[in-house]
């Protein structure tokens, strides 16, 4: 068992890499029809490996599994990567969303399929690398890989919108890069190491116990950088443009998981390392409030289906930030579960967007209406997504939000807890507006002959709806399991 456990982490690096090589080694004409299937296979493999690894690691009682990519005599120094339960759970989420994205891509991606697969692997590798890193610089490098793959994925279809979105993303990411590199440099200047093991609130304050003001600056810059990557307000400006203009399969990846790994995971690391500093948690919480409120208010007034979904992602990231900011194991569990439930319901919603775009050719919700009759599966999947997002029991979103609210309460932020609860009404409001304009009400006669989508998108919608509800129904079991392994 132990050897399997030790072997599993390699999958997360090796699978995308080998798929990448395979994709380019086989002639494009032959590979073309299998590229998306290959992407889906890698995603499925990652999902399976993550589930297995999580179960084995939890059963083994070990905190983490360290490993290195290259053979070395000095085993301790060579093992510069690791998986633990948190990263395995997030790897699971990556695999899950990547699978949903591949299922959608099978229908929506027509040209540049091999390029899509290449970039897909690069994106996967970038996110996996972030989750495996044991030092901030490695984390940063993989973050840049993730970001670069994302820009090209958004822009590769050469629409002016796509280029504009990618450009905005690139510009803002450049700002993030500047801030993060500066922050890392300042930290490195102070401590001489960027390994997680060498960092911490204690490491920053010297012998006098007084903290260097530059360390504060470094942390502020790092937080701002991750905030840009996570799309937290007021750094969210790039996100709706980028997510709206990308292909829907790409939007699923970006909204469903990339912003959380590139942004929220950064906050998880920062709070784990520097959570003893109140200012770190406070600024994360402040970002959370702004993000929830701005995201929801802006989602309420949009007319483009994917733009609403994108702003909804902004708003939901705010909840994840809340959970992280609480700084307690319960808050972390809440945040991770919200990553999962958001991944599930946002993938559902974007699958719906893909279906609508395929069948209608437009995503302007003002032109829709009454489509429930034409597209019952899409309508139903969208309702489960809405109920989960609005936090209606027993859907998955309810439990994760509940844990986040409780953790905020326990952290002494009763006002924030109340604000989170109050703002979730806005979530219900913009989702209800979306439902009403798209699926309910009178139907535009233009859509009288519209049919339900078929194939992989329908399959993915059904599976994802089942996950929205099933994860919620299984939640008490999940909670018991987490309790038994001592995570809470």
């Amino acid at each position: 068992m132990s050897s399997i456990l030790n072997g599993i982490p390699y999958v997360f690096v090796a699978a995308p890499l080998f798929a990448f090589i395979l994709n380019n080694a086989v002639p494009r004409e032959r590979m073309r029809s299998h590229a998306v299937a290959l992407s889906g296979g890698v995603a499925a493999l990652q999902l399976a490996a993550a589930i297995l690894g999580f179960a084995l690691l939890a059963a083994s009682g070990r905190g983490e599994v360290r490993f290195g990519l290259f053979w070395s005599v000095d085993a301790a120094g060579a093992a510069y990567l690791r998986v633990n339960l948190v990263s395995l759970f997030l790897l699971l989420c990556v695999g899950f969303v990547a699978l949903a994205s591949a299922l959608t891509a099978a229908k929506t991606i027509d040209d540049h399929r091999c390029s899509f697969a290449n970039l897909f692997m690069a994106l996967l590798l970038g996110m996996n690398g972030m989750l495996l890193a044991t030092d901030l610089f490695t984390l940063y490098v993989f973050l840049e890989i993730t970001g670069t793959a994302s820009f090209v994925l958004i822009a590769m279809y050469k629409s002016s919108k796509g280029l504009e979105g990618a450009f905005k993303y690139l510009t803002m990411s450049a700002l993030a890069t500047i801030m993060m590199l500066t922050g890392l440099a300042l930290l490195f200047m102070h401590t001489g190491s960027l390994a997680f093991a060498d960092l911490g609130a204690a490491a920053l304050s010297g012998a006098s116990g007084e903290m260097d003001i530059l360390c504060y600056g470094a942390l502020a810059l790092l937080i701002s950088g991750f905030a840009i990557k996570a799309g937290a307000a007021p750094f969210h400006s790039w996100l709706p443009d980028a997510h709206q203009s990308a292909d829907t399969a790409v939007s699923i990846l970006l909204s469903g998981i990339v912003i959380k790994i590139a942004g929220a995971y950064g906050f998880i690391v920062l709070v784990e390392l520097f959570g003893d500093l109140y200012a770190v948690r406070l600024s994360v919480a402040a970002l959370g409030v702004a993000t929830i409120a701005f995201g929801a208010l802006l989602a309420l007034v949009q007319t483009h289906f994917k733009r609403i979904a994108a702003y909804s992602s902004v708003s939901q990231v705010g909840y994840i930030l809340f959970g992280i900011a609480a700084g307690s194991p319960l808050g972390l569990v809440g945040a991770l579960l919200h990553v999962f439930s958001h991944a599930a319901f946002k993938s559902t919603l974007f699958s719906g967007a893909a279906a609508l775009h395929e069948q209608l050719g437009t995503l302007d919700i003002e032109q829709m209406g009454g489509l429930q009759k034409n597209m019952p599966v899409t309508g139903f999947a969208s309702v489960t997504s809405f109920l989960s997002a609005a936090g209606v029991p027993p859907f998955a979103g309810f439990w994760s939000k509940l844990l986040i609210l409780i953790s905020l309460w326990q952290a002494g932020w009763i006002g924030l807890s109340a604000a989170a609860l109050g703002l979730s009404i806005l979530t219900g409001a913009y989702f209800l507006r979306l439902q009403k304009k798209v699926f309910f009400g009178p139907r535009n006669p233009r859509w009288d002959d519209v049919k339900e989508i078929g194939g992989t998108i329908r399959a993915s919608q059904i599976v994802l709806s089942a996950v929205n509800l099933g994860a919620g129904l299984c939640f008490p079991l999940v909670l018991l399991y987490l309790q038994s392994i001592g995570l809470i």
Binding site: T171, M211, Y216, S224, A279, A286, L297, L298, L426
Partner: protein, 631 residues
């Protein structure tokens, strides 16, 4: 024979349950009667079941009462029925009156619609009344009391689904009274530690101090059922369009029996009701106000039904005045007056019904000269009218004299009010009798050939008039044989009143009323206008105008207050709805639109915002470094 029946029935509780169940069965039978012979069937049911009920009631009365608990008693609530004293007397009396009004009703509905439902509800009402009279437990009493309210509401609704105003009014007023009664019963049972009337009667509660609330509330409940002010105003409204048998049965007799029975029980059994106590004053004032204003309104009515209905209110005032004195003579007078009133008022309503049946109207403007066409009806009417006016020698005279006696002892003002009431009663009946039976015949076209009423209506009228004469001629029978033992006080003076001065004063008032009638007749030009000189006298005219417009009706005050309250609630609710429907979504959407305009797609603006965001985060860290923010 009655004892044999009792023995045959075994347990004493059985006849009592039968008295509740039998009428319901009769009502169902009457209601189910269909086809051409349904009128005859209903008459047969009325006779059979009315007589059976009377036999049971008499057997209980002659058997010296009974007591028994129902087997289905829940823990802590004993469903006990007990018949003794005044209840034992009231049962056969109610049975007798019911037999008469049931025959009258069956006859009235012979060729009319709605008879089945009416008979059903009438019979159920008897069951409820019997139950209320027999109940020993106050909770059981309340159950039957509410049952009576339900049947009353149903009776008022029959045939008038469109115009249910009177029914709703009755429900609201009687319902309020019943609610107050419920409060009173709760307070009484709590204070006494028991809800059993016979247990409370063994140690009556004090009507002063903590007992005052329970006593006053229970008395208000009893007054509400009897139709005293301020629970009266549904009666004239119902009188305008309810079927004639309803008026005879409910405001005429059955409701008075229930209300006065309960008032008597409260005063004699449940509470120590001392003459001259505040509670006594409260009841007497209620009685005096009811009798004075009720008859004052009756005086000016130009419609037979409305006139009689106001008398039905005013007569309750006399009974309450008598009972409220708390003196044995007053209580006996009150109960005697209630019995007399049930006889003559029902008789008057039956006579009015006979006239309505034959002429098709009750409007006094259109009636006149009926003494020739309907001699028997006229005779019955005059016997009853003399009784209600209290002409010496009639039964009404004897009961009124007892009440006058007690009222004078309690306070001159009450006696004066009662005398004024007697004056107006006599004046209004002179007017009614004169207009309907003596003046020129002024019937509408095609209604000239008026004949004597049907037998089914005449026989009840004659019976009631005969009973009036009997109770007047042999007042020792009701007073010393019936009421005296029932109240546990055998020494009530019967025969001619001892106080000659009071008799002289009463006679003088009657003569004054006659003189006033003659004067008014001359001045107004006809019997119908005989009261107009009082009606249109300066000062009084304005008061009457207010009353006629309903401005003095407590029900209307209550409804106005309720409407104001509901308008205020609607206003507040509108505000709340506006807040949720308009203000909050407007604010949220407006904020969203503003934010949307702000994030307008310009990359340079985005960068500036991002830098500002960094500055904010740095500010948080700066504040933390300076120790300004801390957990």
């Amino acid at each position: 024979m009655f004892k044999t029946i009792c023995a045959l029935l075994g347990d004493p509780v059985n006849p009592m349950i039968s008295m509740c169940a039998l009428p319901v069965a009769g009502g169902v039978l009457a209601c189910l009667s269909r086809g051409r012979s349904r009128g005859a069937l209903r008459m047969a049911v009325a006779l059979l079941f009315g007589a059976a009920n009377l036999v049971f009631a008499l057997s209980l009365y002659l058997g010296g009462g009974a007591s028994g608990a129902l087997a289905l008693g829940v823990q802590g609530l004993e469903l006990r029925l007990a018949v003794s004293g005044i209840a034992a007397l009231m049962l056969p009396f109610a049975g007798l009156l019911f037999l008469i009004v049931a025959v009258y009703a069956a006859s009235w509905f012979h060729k009319r619609e709605g008879g089945g439902a009416y008979m059903l509800l009438l019979f159920i009402s008897l069951g409820m009344l019997n139950g209320a009279l027999m109940a020993d437990n106050l909770g059981v009493l309340l159950f039957f009391w509410e049952g009576l309210l339900c049947t009353l509401f149903g009776l008022l609704l029959i045939g008038r689904r469109e115009n249910s105003k009177a029914a709703v009014k009755a429900l609201a007023l009687s319902g309020t009274a019943d609610l107050i009664l419920m409060l009173g019963i709760l307070a009484t049972a709590r204070l006494a530690g028991s809800a059993s009337m016979s247990e409370i009667a063994a140690r009556p509660l004090s009507a002063d101090g903590p007992g005052a609330l329970g006593c006053a509330c229970m008395l208000l409940g009893a007054m509400g059922k009897a139709g005293a002010m301020p629970f009266h105003s549904w009666i004239p409204e119902a009188a305008s369009d309810a079927p004639a048998p309803f008026l005879a049965a409910f405001p005429g007799s059955l409701e008075k029996i229930a209300g006065i029975y309960l008032a008597t029980r409260i005063v004699t059994d449940l509470y120590e009701f001392a003459p001259g106590s505040p509670m006594s004053l409260f009841v007497m004032v209620a009685g005096a106000v009811t009798l004075f204003f009720g008859v004052a309104m009756a005086l000016i009515q130009k419609d037979m039904r409305r006139l009689l209905s106001y008398h039905a209110i005013s007569q309750v005032g006399y009974m309450l005045l008598g009972i409220g004195t708390g003196l044995p003579v007053g209580i006996a007078g009150g109960v005697f007056h209630m019995m007399n009133n049930a006889l003559y008022k029902t008789g008057l309503f039956v006579a009015a019904g006979a006239i309505e049946d034959q002429t098709g109207t009750t409007d006094l403007h259109k009636l006149g000269g009926l003494r020739r066409a309907m001699p028997v009806t006229a005779a019955c009417f005059f016997v009853c009218a003399l009784s209600i006016a209290g002409v010496p020698g009639t039964n009404g005279f004897f009961s009124k004299e007892l009440i006058f006696d007690a009222a004078l002892e309690s306070g001159t003002i009450f006696y004066v009010a009662a005398l004024a009431g007697a004056f107006m009663t006599a004046a209004s009946f002179l007017k009614l009798g004169g207009a309907a039976f003596f003046s020129e015949a002024r019937l509408p076209q095609g209604r000239r050939n008026i004949r004597e009423a049907r037998l089914g209506i005449l026989i009840p009228a004659v019976l009631l008039a005969a009973l009036c004469v009997l109770f007047g001629a042999y007042n020792a029978l009701p007073l010393q044989t019936l009421i005296g033992p029932a109240l546990g006080d055998a020494h009530i003076h019967a025969g001619w009143p001892e106080n000659g001065t009071l008799v002289l004063l009463s006679s003088a008032v009657l003569l004054l009323a006659l003189a006033d009638h003659v004067y008014g007749r001359k001045k107004g030009g006809g019997a119908l206008a005989a009261a107009d000189h009082i009606h249109y006298a300066p000062g009084i005219k304005q008061a009457y105008a207010l009353a006629e417009r309903g401005l003095l009706d407590p029900y209307n005050w209550l409804m106005a207050a309720a409407n104001g309250f509901s308008a205020a609630c609607a206003w507040i609710e509108g505000g709340v709805t506006w807040f949720y429907d308009k203000a909050v979504p407007g604010l949220v959407t407006g904020t969203g639109q503003t934010l949307r305009r702000f994030w307008n797609g310009s990359v340079s603006r985005y960068l500036i915002i991002a830098v500002a965001g960094v500055a904010c985060i740095c500010l948080i860290f700066l504040l933390a470094a300076l120790g300004e923010v801390a957990p």
